[in-house]
Each structure stands twice: as C-alpha cells, then as structure tokens.
Symmetry: C2
Subunit: 191 residues, 2 copies
C-alpha cells in the first residue's frame, strides 16, 4: 500500500537487529487516518473470506484491527497479555516470544468472545517470525474456531514468518513488504 | 450517550467491588461501530477546546481515543505500561494505581511525541478514582504541554474522580455516568 510505504520511507527508523521503529504512526503515536486507510485496504482484500470475527494481540495490533473491523462491520477481540480480574477463571492461554520485549509473553482470550463456528481473521502490525500470529492461531483453534485469513501492516520477509504460516493454507496479506534493513536503508519488495 | 447506556444496560456485568465488566464491547472484545459513535460524540463535545493531540493509556483507552482522533483529525499517543526497546532512554514516566490489575503500573510517554506547546485532550475508557487520568495529566505537564479537556466513556460517580480532576479547570465529559453498582443493579445518572 503506497501511503503506508511512503510513511515508512519518511519516518521509519532502523534500530539494528532487524527492528524497524514506527512509533510515530503505529506503535506509540497512531495516525488514525492512515490506520483507517489500512483498515479499508484489509477489508477490501479479505472481503470474500467469510470472517465473522477479527482477532489481534494487544497492544500494537489494536489500531489496525479496530479499523479493519470498522470497515468489515465485525467485532474485534484482542488477546490480553495479562489476565484482568474481569476475565473468567477458565480461559484460552498460550505463550509466544515478543520481539520488542525480548521475552515470552502470554496471550489470553476469554471463551466468552471466541467460540466454535467462528471464522477468524487475524490482523496484526508486524509479520516477522510469525510467532505472535501462530500464538493467535493456536487460541483460535483451541476455541474450535476456523482461521480464514492473516493480515499484517508490515512484513519483514527476511524473518521467514510467511514460510511458518504457509501450512495454515489461508490468504496472508501484508500491506508493505520489507526485504532488508541494512546500513540505515530500508529495502521494499517490488509490488 | 444513549447507545452506550443501552449497551451497558444490556451487556454490562457487575462483578462486585465497584467493578463493571464491559469486556464484550470495550475491554476485550470491541464493537467498532459503537466506539466510532463514541469518538464522534467526543469530537462534538470537544470541538472548541483547540486540542492538537489526544493522549490515552494502553490498553483499554486505545479504542475510544483512536476513534476520537479519527473524528478530530488529530494524532493519538498512548502511554505505554512498559518501555519497548524502540523508545529512547530518556522518557516521561509516572506511576498510577491500576483498578483492574490491583497494583501500581507505569505510564510512559516518549518526548518525541509529546512536547511543549501541545494542547492535550485526554481520552480514556473509565473515570473512576481519576488516578490513571491524573497520571496522564502529569505526563502532559512534564512535557510542557497544556491540558485542554478530559473525556471518558463511563464515569463511576461514586468513586469521586470528578472531584479529584476538577481543580485542573478543564471540561470533563463522560458519555455515561453511573451513580451506583449495587446488588446486581446499575444505576445511571439522569441526563
């Protein structure tokens, strides 16, 4: 998606170790108009997968998932990383490594909002190793729900996440694909 | 706001200790259409305060703040509760008690996205004791920014937050005000 790509070119910062900082418009400060455009684009790409619910992980997945949900007219569930007191004792829980936190985090969803028969579209900010997204997929499967698609704002193709997710046999859509982050230069995949 | 009030009447659950569970449409699963309506309403109520930036706290503040930001055409910054590796070493940090976590949490904002001269509108999901919102206000003041308004989806008037915030001398708007949560019954303020 051209608007997101240009914004990354203009404001994205490479921090080393394959970390792309997009805190100015996605991860700490959010540009609502850009997120809304991204949501509209996901809604267009996943118009025919029959999704009944969108699933994401707190925190950075919430903005793109919410805007996608708005355009698709669907509820969005965000997996929590710690169990709030409002959640029932019996939950779906898995663990996944966090890229930016450098440790394992829990991903928790209440059975109240994810059940069998649901068709789940997973939306997140980054597709890197695919570990967080696989965690969300495990939660969906634990609930007896069906995965129907995976959408991410930014894919770092050099981290191999797409290969990890391919066996799931669902459409995987990334709005921008980055093939290398080297020496202060961001290299984009040709679209 | 009638739509939010009706949703709380229909789906809100009282958990005791003054906790109102709204996980089905705000805090775990989010109804994007309802959040969008709430955002439009905040935009209407704060149309004339001259806000240049919206500030909220992760996690539950993100959805209403993002939708408000969309309707006002402003960027939104969410204070982080742990410092990601993408954040600079020098940050604004304060601590505030978390109602639903039962402990103190950090609230952290990068100086990159909150500076002097900004006019900050704080948006959050709940106004209870006002402690989280006061924490956000401290961050804004530390950055040299000016607070111009406070908006929350749901105010629990019996926890006294409005009295705590009144000395700030800015407009405080809650879309729904709850005066009591007793014996399984939710009592709303007359509007």
């Amino acid at each position: 998606m051209q608007a997101l790509k240009e914004r990354i070119q203009r404001e994205g910062t490479i921090l080393g170790n394959g970390i792309l900082k997009v805190d100015g418009f996605i991860n700490h400060q959010v540009d609502p108009e850009l997120m809304d455009e991204c949501g509209a684009e996901f809604a267009r790409r996943f118009a025919n997968v029959g999704a009944t619910r969108i699933l994401t992980a707190e925190i950075s997945g919430i903005a793109p998932a919410l805007m996608t949900a708005r355009h698709m007219g669907l509820p969005v569930v965000y997996a929590r990383k710690s169990k709030p007191i409002t959640m029932p004792d019996q939950v779906y829980l898995t663990i996944a490594p966090s890229h930016t936190k450098g440790r394992m985090v829990e991903l928790i969803v209440s059975p109240e909002y994810l059940g069998s028969g649901e068709k789940v579209l997973v939306i997140d900010d980054f597709l890197a190793t695919g570990a967080t997204i696989l965690g969300l997929v495990r939660l969906a499967h634990a609930a007896g729900a069906e995965l129907v698609g995976i959408g991410t704002l930014i894919e770092k193709t050099f981290e191999g996440g797409r290969d990890v997710l391919r066996p799931l046999e669902v459409p995987i859509e990334s709005l921008v694909r980055i093939t290398a982050l080297d020496a202060g230069h961001i290299e984009f995949a040709a679209d």
